[in-house]
Symmetry: C3
Subunit: 271 residues, 3 copies
């Protein structure tokens, strides 16, 4: 199984599908191709939330604002999964989750290696482009990794083990007594504001003070009237600031990266 | 074969795909993941138009504005198809079409049953979330239904036959002589205004009076000039109010649920 | 393998998937369903860029502004690929690329043939609609072509060899010394302005005069600061006018079909 994730929108992912299907009969599964464009941190969050639900697979990830520069290309072995993508950190939050107790191993891709150039009908293989390494580097590599198997990455002629990569840690909230200081990780397609504060802090509460304003806590969107705001625990386990049948990011005036201060104890302020 | 339909947009459907692929090797086919958000009636219309073209399959449907409330989860056996989704009526217009002459049978899902919780790498199975039953209830159930087979639903430990469900009938137009009183079922992505009036009433007509205005009847969009309005018979067999290479909903000022009165006989008014 | 491309958006492609899956177990691969709506030339460009990366396959293409008129339906044999779609030219730029040195052969589809009508549960096969030949003509034909095999198209009862079709050639730029006169073929989803001028003319240049304005030449988007304009060689090998982390079509004020004059030699004007 080979999954594909990118921020390409349309129709560029089709070129990757074609390149892959020349090299492998693997089942292809699209994760998403409209990840927030060029937003490495948001992509890292979504991949960490989504890929652990898959069975062992090769995961192609192309969110690559540095395409064509001297940033490296990587294959990461994480338990019985493999990740293929740019060396900009996007692979590592999910890789740590997939590796469980196994060590991560990263392989540097020699992206000028002839074996990586995609085949196409009507023209001979060319040089790799400077703007579409998804097609010219990562898709061929992901197909080869699938065919070779995650346990045999050492046999691919263009891979070499490395301990030097760009890491990324998603920011964690700090909690001091009844006050959490965190931030917005992403806004989802519904307008839900997903913070990095653990949802466990909402347990047993009827109200929370979010950036100075009182917000009711609800287990479900339907706990408040349509168009009303609420704080809830999202499907990823974090505090979300939402609007029932509306857009939380507009109602709260928040976007990815904004600071969020949640106060849990001061229910009295909200009466 | 297992089809997936939702109003999730992106990237949440990927979590459902992963959960399903841990449980079955079934072929997955996306119907759509951008059904009109939270619009049970529109989803019911589209599913009724689309799913009958598929061979026998399990159809996962998640348009679920009541997620996390006490609404039930259902599996419906409809002929040699099965439908899995929330008990809000969305499944029944298409279920009646798929069942043909067989009786419908509905099964209540015990959505707290441990067997339904999805597996994931890196963490043990948790409780079901209150906001994403597509991942935590419906996707696992659909995969299990596929593996068990539509004829053996009784053997799934979390299903129990029920005759108590939320039904939904799509509204039908009333026709009195040369006058049809109906409504807009949906506006499609082209801006075409799809009504619930049968297209048979347009046969042999050159013009129709729609909400008081004369509109030419055409067999094809190209029957009128670009940007001109027309009434035509859509691919679902109903009257559509469209604009050639333009958006009918803007030109007619209509949206889903609006009343539509069509007069067929009064061609004289339009000269 | 059977690929699907259209300008339908959502959810109409699902009807084509269902129709096809009643007739064949072929692997289905989506190319894109949001090709620029009704834009035959843009679709022809994208298909020419994308489909050659696929292994031999049947390619269903529905960009069909003339649906329901008397335009014909075609199957084109191009090397070991087959293309199925409307006779409006959209198939031929890619067909020439896929055929390599083999002759193209085109077959006229008798689209009133009973064998083409799709099956569906709950109703008998009807007449073909006037607005959705993707479902009622092209999808069934593509499935049959897949089952019959590209070498045996002559055996399909509704196909007849023809040498009369609507051709389309994508416009080529004219280059005179250090001046290229071309046009914008398409604007992609990133806002990149893709011209029909070969990228080879940018080799060794630091600057180009595009429609009278000096623009730096860069190998990668990152060659200029965010929000700055550049000319680069796109992944298709043509000159693109882009903005790093921004939208080239807005910055250059260009859209598909606009003229583009590039001057390569007059670096002095730009100092």
């Amino acid at each position: 199984m080979l999954t594909l994730a990118s921020d390409f929108g349309t129709p560029y992912p089709a070129a990757m599908r074609g390149v892959i299907l020349r090299r492998t009969d693997a089942r292809l599964v699209d994760v998403a191709h409209d990840l927030p464009r060029g937003d490495i941190r948001a992509a890292a969050f979504w991949l960490r939330e989504l890929l652990p639900y898959f069975p062992p697979a090769v995961h192609l990830v192309v969110v690559d604002p540095g395409v064509g520069t001297d940033r490296n290309a990587l294959v990461v072995r994480a338990g019985n999964h493999a990740l293929v993508g740019p060396d900009n950190g996007v692979l590592f939050p999910v890789a740590r989750e997939l590796a469980v107790d196994a060590p991560l191993e990263a392989f540097l891709v020699d992206d000028d290696h002839d074996d990586l150039r995609p085949e196409r009908t009507g023209r001979s293989r060319g040089q790799k482009s400077t703007t579409f390494h998804g097609r010219d580097v990562f898709a061929p590599a992901a197909a080869d990794v699938h065919e070779t198997g995650v346990d045999s990455l050492e046999t691919l002629p263009y891979l070499s083990l490395t301990d030097d990569w760009v890491d990324l840690e998603l920011p964690e909230a700090t909690v001091d007594g009844e006050r959490a200081v965190g931030e917005v990780l992403v806004v989802d397609g519904f307008g839900n504001v997903i913070t990095n504060v653990s949802g466990t802090y909402l347990e047993g509460r009827e109200v929370v003070v979010a950036n100075g304003e009182c917000v009711p806590v609800g287990e479900t969107f339907a706990a408040v009237e349509p168009s009303e705001r609420l704080a809830t625990v999202g499907s990823h386990g974090n505090v979300e600031l939402d609007v029932n049948q509306g857009r939380g990011e507009a109602a709260f005036g928040l976007e990815a990266g904004d600071a969020v201060v949640l106060e849990f104890g001061d229910d009295g302020r909200c009466e």
